[in-house]
């Protein structure tokens, strides 16, 4: 088992409880996630997917990738990143084959489904977009229910510390977290009914949603629905990207911001976009050594100056925040290697060896680190919207499906709205304005009379949104990568056939290439032939990569139906998980 030096950003509180991991006693703070406590103890390897695999650890840190699955008190496949520790908990590393537990009393062969709850407005997702929508609607007198998969509201942008003891000294007074805290408090005081630990896993007839709420089955048939599922990080498959110690940049930020835990001592951050710079500075301030930031965007500032000036004009505070981050990176002596990408990762005696390449001239370079953070952009969590039957278009530029919406953020289905980053990344500010727009439009859908006051609020929100969208476009021009996100898969040169494309089912690029017999390029057929995308994460990482590969090498022209349909349950859930009623 791979272990790291214990890394603790929180020095203030002594561990107050203990649990067992594979027989080893591990200290933890109350309300730690298993992921945080194990990382703090230097335990990186949490699961073995097979004898020939070096193991898996925390990867996405947000419940998407299903790579940190462990057995908790005999219950298999619990996500370490989403499970809280408890005193005396027995945790075992995940194994390739589960041990079925037979403690069940003979249950009834029948089910007795309860009538769904019928809130006027249901908002799914308690990040920036969902909080804004819930607050706007509740303040106008609508009866709102808000669901979030995590135990704390705030989402990925407003990441909230689990408890005050989890806030690292370097993060005290952080404005981003404070803004989130204020928004969450406002949502509570506006009378929104909030269910945390609420995983929406299915729907029926496009109108009834099924969720596992704190371990119980609940269903909802709302008057109007706003989906604000957020985004997850795009990580391009590379040799070694499944190794323990390789995680998304967002996962490292979650460990720090929610649990006061550094992912490791020496951290290399690579990929594309502003999040990498922000998290590098945050980790450095908390005491990590940032080996470097490897950035796929071009190095020359001249070409970027125009984009930056535009950003400065549209949102001076955000542009200045960027300058402060750049200054922070200088203060902490963080090297930014622009125009480069990580092309291979391997383990060494002391951690990871990371191979990098200049995208244009091919120059190679190698660095050592404990943890490699990867973020190559973002992909939308739109599977619920797709399951509901909302229309989508394939956005060739961004390489993912985009929910079709009107100016009110309403989808192709009357009464279902989609807002924020689950519709394509536009950032927290756009998400907040979209929340306002969708809430006001949902009011009209709920047959509430439109007042001039609301009409002008809608107008203002739309104008604000346009301004933020212009800022985002400039930001992404600033961060335009030298080559497309999946260029390394498309050129066929950088990656050997042994690169794992599908993390869950461990399917290599070579196997996918071999399945492209003749001019076969149907992703569904390749999925069935290779099992790519058939694992626990439902293809969230490999399928966009496979589409890019097929586009480049087999003339695939992706459309709305290229991506295999999402399957219920949207996250793996056992029958025990699915069927426990509120009264049991």
């Amino acid at each position: 088992m791979k272990q790291n030096e214990p890394s603790v950003a929180v020095q203030t509180t002594l561990p107050r409880l203990r649990f067992d991991f594979d027989g080893r006693s591990v200290p933890a703070l109350p309300s730690d996630t298993l992921a945080a406590a194990l990382t703090r103890a230097g335990i990186l390897t949490l699961r073995s997917p097979g004898a020939d695999d070096p193991g898996r650890g925390i990867f996405c840190g947000m419940g998407v990738c299903q790579d940190c699955l462990v057995t908790v008190d005999g219950v298999p496949e619990r996500r370490a990143c989403m499970t809280d520790v408890a005193e005396g908990m027995q945790v075992e590393s995940g194994q390739p084959l589960l041990r079925p537990e037979s403690n069940a009393k003979p249950a009834s062969p029948n089910i007795d489904l309860q009538e769904p709850l019928t809130p006027q407005l249901l908002v799914i997702g308690g990040g920036a977009a969902g909080l804004s929508a819930a607050l706007t609607a509740a303040r106008l007198g609508v009866q709102v229910t808000l669901l979030d998969e995590r135990k704390t509201l705030g989402g990925q942008y407003f990441k909230q510390a689990r408890t005050a003891a989890h806030i690292p000294p370097s993060m005290r007074g952080d404005k981003q977290a404070a803004a989130g805290r204020a928004l969450i408090e406002a949502v509570h005081s506006a009378g929104v009914t909030v269910y945390c630990d609420a995983l929406v896993w299915g729907c029926e007839d496009g109108s009834t949603l099924f969720a596992r709420v704190a371990g119980r089955l609940m269903s909802f048939r709302p008057g109007a629905l706003i989906v604000a599922g957020g985004a997850y990080e795009r990580v391009v498959p590379r040799p070694g990207w499944t190794l323990p110690g390789v995680m998304t940049t967002g996962a490292a930020q979650t460990l720090l911001r929610t649990s006061g835990t550094l992912p490791g001592k020496r951290v290399l951050i690579a990929g594309n976009g502003p999040l990498n710079l922000q998290v590098a500075v945050e980790l450095a301030r908390a005491g990590a050594k940032i080996v470097a930031i490897v950035e796929a965007a071009a190095p020359t500032l001249i070409t970027k100056a125009g984009a930056f000036l535009r950003m400065l004009g549209l949102a001076p505070d955000l542009a200045l925040q960027g300058i402060r981050l750049a200054a922070g990176s200088l203060t902490h002596n963080i090297a930014v290697l622009s125009g480069m990408r990580v092309i291979g990762i391997s383990t060494t005696d002391s951690g990871l060896s990371v191979q990098m390449q200049d995208i244009r001239n091919g120059t190679m370079r190698t660095s050592d680190c404990d943890v490699l953070c990867l973020s190559d952009g973002f992909l939308p969590n739109n599977e619920l919207l797709r399951l509901l039957g909302c229309r989508h278009d394939f956005d060739a530029l961004r390489g993912h499906l985009v929910t079709v919406r009107d100016v009110n953020c309403m989808t192709s289905i009357e009464g279902i709205f989609a807002i924020g980053d689950c519709c394509g990344l536009n950032g927290a500010r756009a998400a907040i304005h979209e929340g306002e727009i969708a809430a006001l439009a949902a009011l009209a859908h709920l047959h509430q009379k439109h007042t001039t006051e609301r009409a002008s609020a809608l107008d203002l929100a739309r104008r604000n949104l346009q301004k933020v969208q212009r800022f985002q476009r400039a930001l992404w021009r600033f961060y335009a990568p030298v080559a497309g996100a999946y260029a390394s898969l498309q050129s066929d040169i950088q990656h050997g056939d042994e690169t794992l494309l599908c993390r869950c089912e461990r399917i290599t690029l070579g196997k996918v290439r071999a399945a492209c017999v003749g001019d076969n390029r149907d992703l569904g057929a390749i999925k069935r032939a290779t099992r790519i995308g058939m694992g626990a994460c439902q293809g969230r990482y490999c399928l966009p990569a496979a589409i890019a590969f097929l586009q480049a090498n087999h003339a695939l022209q992706p459309d709305e139906f290229t991506m295999p349909a999402p399957r219920m349950p949207l996250r793996p859930l056992s029958c025990n998980d699915l069927l426990l009623k509120p009264t049991e």
Partner: protein, 385 residues
């Protein structure tokens, strides 16, 4: 294997098989092995063998008695095909070389109470009279051979010839074998018209048309529309059915498990995953592309699985889906059409995945003018007109 190119225009074949599921692939492969120039066309819809749950059924499905009591006598007479069909799968598993997850573990149809067990006894007598060996076992014997089952069950009907296939592996291996035998496989190729010609048929697929001496329609629920292009009435309904699959577990369920009165099939594939299905309905109203899963079927099917195999409830369900079960009058539709020489129909009857390869064998023998050893008249495609 995708849509054909213009260079194929007006290419002629000895035989064209429409339908690239288990039946069509087996027919194509056998014909090509005899030296014929064979093309196998499939519209590439997402239903078909690739959505199957992979059970090898031999004993009579309990739902037949429940739902179609008037059909029981006819179905019972066709029971003798099922042991032969399992042998056909065994041959295929050997010939294909790849591991297709073929395993004859025996199948259990379990009863909750003595009343159900009595009706299983009646069914067993009928089965034995028609050449299928099943035996009734009591609760003690059941607990001994299947300790993973709920220990309150009253007993079961045991059929040693039942088992399973991994349908994804089987489809891939059959496709490869057909390819190796020289079959021209064209998926994503929807047939738009069929016409009779002087010495055979013309098959049009939008941009291309092919001439063929012989034409086999083995297109499951798609058969109805294709046959009507030639003026035939062959009513095959598309019945959307629900299925679940779990994460991989250590081997603990060795049989194919069914129930005397309720709809379920449950088995553990060679990769460790439990596949739970057995005829719970899915929806074809709402989804234009694939049949949509019904929550009541998802939860109901799993609750029944938990009742029968309590430990199954601890395994995460990674995916549910709906497949299409083509169904006519529960009997296979198999044979030639007097008056339309060179045209053949092959749609296997109940438990079509099990008997698909055997139906393919019978049809190819019929096409070659060989003795099938079976009276095929009850299965005539003309029985619906």
């Amino acid at each position: 294997m995708s849509a054909s190119t213009s260079s194929d225009f007006s290419r002629d074949f000895d035989t064209i098989v429409i339908g690239g599921g288990v039946t069509g692939l087996c027919i194509s492969r056998l014909l090509a092995a005899d030296g014929a120039a064979v093309a196998c066309l499939d519209a590439g819809e997402r239903a078909g063998s690739t959505a199957n749950a992979g059970s090898l059924h031999v004993q009579m499905q309990s739902r037949l008695e429940r739902l179609f009591p008037e059909r029981v006598a006819d179905v019972a007479r066709s029971l003798s095909w099922y042991p032969k069909a399992v042998e056909e799968w065994r041959t295929l598993a050997n010939e294909l070389g790849d591991d297709i997850g073929f395993a004859l573990t025996g199948g259990l149809m379990v009863a909750d109470n003595d009343e159900q067990l009595t009706s299983l006894s009646r069914k067993s007598q009928l089965e034995r009279a028609n050449g299928v060996h099943t035996e009734i076992i009591d609760r003690h014997e059941l607990a001994r051979i299947a300790p993973y089952l709920n220990d309150t069950l009253a007993g079961a009907s045991f059929c040693p010839l039942e088992g399973k296939i991994d349908p994804l592996k089987a489809q891939a291996a059959l496709t490869a074998a057909a390819w190796d035998a020289g079959v021209e496989l064209r998926t994503g190729t929807k047939v738009t018209s069929l016409t009779r010609e002087r010495s055979g048929f013309r098959v049009a697929t939008g941009t291309t048309s092919y001439g063929t001496k012989r034409l086999v329609i083995a297109a499951g629920a798609g058969t109805t529309a294709l046959a009507s292009m030639l003026g035939l009435i062959i009513p095959i309904r598309a019945e959307p059915l629900h299925m679940n699959v779990t994460s991989a577990a250590e081997p603990f369920v060795n049989h194919l498990v069914q129930h005397a009165e309720r709809s379920i099939t449950l088995k553990q594939l060679s990769n460790g995953r439990l596949v739970i299905g057995g005829g719970w309905p899915a929806d074809d109203r709402l989804a234009p592309i694939v049949p949509a899963v019904r929550i009541s079927s998802l939860l109901g099917n799993l609750a029944l699985a938990r009742f029968l195999v309590p430990a199954s409830a601890s395994l995460p369900v990674t995916r549910t889906w709906a497949g299409i079960n083509p169904t006519a009058d529960l009997l296979s539709v198999l044979g030639s059409i007097p008056g339309l020489p060179g045209l053949y129909i092959a749609v296997p009857g109940d438990a079509g995945y099990t008997i698909g390869p055997y139906c393919a064998r019978l049809l190819v023998e019929l096409m070659g003018g060989r003795e099938t050893g079976q009276d095929l008249s009850p299965y005539s495609p003309l029985r619906f007109s």
